[in-house]
């Protein structure tokens, strides 16, 4: 197996608390992984580690050929993270937010409009400052930002939360498209009914380590 993500005994500390207490994980290119687990199991910390936002304190982690113990800045451009809070600029419109992100990662801004449209942001919403959007709309803008950036590694933190049925189906479609296009996808979830069918690998975390892993429903279906 050609592991595009390979973690061995990965430990990550926040202050003095080990959010990750020795994670072992291997995922091949073009795979979809769902991480399940109770609150505080370390799911979000795992995504943050993979995004290069959380320092690796011991163990080893290689992602997309990059050693996360000393990640270079360009690594971040290859990764897209949809966090609980999509982290948009409140005073800018969805379109300006996406244009800014695309300029920053040196991609053409022509991807902005189609991505927003695909995620159901159109018409009046395109030019409404983000602060006037609802929680669900913001998450859709965040999703559009990810789609427009086309990263090699998609990290989705509970992508199904606060979304309506249509958008949940959209999330499934986008994940499948990304994975069949060769990208890797890691999602965390509290809703196995949506996330398990779309995944190759289902990992359960607890106490900052992986406690179980099994096949998901992606290739079975």
């Amino acid at each position: 197996m050609d592991a595009a993500i390979a973690l061995t005994s990965a430990v990550a500390l926040v202050g003095r608390f080990p959010v990750l207490a020795g994670v072992d994980l291997a995922m091949p290119k073009g795979s979809v992984t769902t991480v399940l687990g109770a609150n505080g199991a370390g799911k979000t910390s795992l995504l943050r580690l993979l995004a290069g936002l959380q320092r690796l304190d011991s163990g080893s982690a290689r992602v997309l050929g990059v050693d996360l113990a000393r990640p270079e800045r360009s690594y971040r451009r290859r990764v897209g993270l949809l966090a609980h809070d999509p982290g948009l600029y409140e005073d800018l419109t969805p379109q300006e937010n996406l244009d800014f992100a695309l300029h920053a990662v040196r991609l053409p801004v022509t991807a902005t409009l189609p991505s927003l449209m695909r995620c159901g942001i159109s018409g009046r919403l395109l030019n409404t400052p983000v602060k006037h959007l609802s929680q669900g709309q913001r998450r859709r803008v965040g999703l559009a930002k990810l789609l427009a950036r086309r990263p090699e590694l998609w990290l989705l933190d509970e992508p199904h939360a606060s979304l309506d049925a249509t958008t949940r189906i959209l999330v499934g479609e986008l994940v499948e498209e990304a994975a069949s296009g060769g990208a890797m996808v890691v999602t965390t979830s509290h809703e196995p009914e949506y996330s398990v069918p779309m995944a190759d690998l289902v990992v359960t975390m607890g106490g900052g380590v992986v406690i179980a892993s099994e096949r998901g429903g992606r290739h079975a279906s």
Binding site: R16, P18, G206, G207
Partner: protein, 241 residues
């Protein structure tokens, strides 16, 4: 010799030197023709100022640069820098106090907008700011990096502050307060006492630095012991649920 013993001996020798300095300064050396007994402050004040303004903040600046330099990055540098600033602030305040005591009878006022006084006071405020920044709880790596940067910026500012204050002061008052007539001529036993005071206070600085550094190491050693058990506790959270 272990470092603990070294620390102890540095402390003993420096304190002995300081006591000898006090004895020489107060009883053995003669009073000055112009300043009388006031001149005895020369055996404390310049040595304090040397430790505060050059040694302590110089060490802090160098260690901060070494911390930021990836090859020499270690918490040792961060701890030395922090300990050095802490001790440095104490010496700076002592410098200002002894300077003020000297100034009152010499100049007739507790404080004057002399260039050295003013830049020393500003320096004290800058490094109190550094300590305030250290006290704010945050991730140890982040804190070390931010503090190192704050220390470097402040240290680079010191010469600029000095020059601007010197020019500012001379333009306003014309004459400097360090009147050459008041500077005592130093020779013989006075020179030796002065030299001893520099050695004694430098030794005390090194001793305090070592003690403070060892304290920081001990604090963090406790944390390292904690890591193994913290990992075990953390993993247990998963199996119990």
């Amino acid at each position: 010799m272990t470092r603990r013993q070294l620390t102890k001996w540095v402390g003993v020798v420096s304190l002995a030197a300081a006591i000898a300095d006090v004895w020489l300064g107060l009883w053995v050396t003669p009073p000055d023709v112009n300043q009388g007994d006031l001149v005895r402050l020369v055996y404390i004040h310049p040595a304090l100022a040397w430790v505060a303004l050059y040694l302590a903040f110089g060490v802090a600046a160098i260690c901060s640069i070494l911390y930021l330099w990836p090859r020499t990055r270690s918490f040792t540098m961060d701890r030395i820098a922090a300990a050095s600033v802490e001790v440095g602030v104490v010496f700076t305040v002592l410098t200002l106090i002894t300077g003020s005591i000297w100034g009152r009878p010499t100049w007739g006022v507790w404080w004057t907008w002399d260039a050295r006084l003013t830049s020393t006071a500003l320096l004290a405020v800058m490094f109190i700011g550094y300590l305030a920044l250290r006290r704010v709880p945050s991730d140890p790596h982040v804190r070390a990096r931010r503090c190192a940067i704050a220390a470097i910026i402040a240290a680079i500012d010191v010469p600029i502050v000095h020059f601007s204050v010197v020019w500012w002061q001379t333009l306003h008052q014309g004459a400097t307060v360090l009147n050459p007539n008041l500077t005592p001529t130093i020779h013989g036993i006075m020179a030796w006492t002065l030299l001893l005071s520099f050695l004694a206070f430098t030794g005390i600085f090194v001793w305090m630095l070592l003690v403070r550094f060892d304290m920081a190491v001990l604090e963090d050693a406790g944390v390292d012991d904690g890591l193994e058990s913290a990992l075990i506790d953390r993993r247990a959270e998963g199996s119990s649920s």
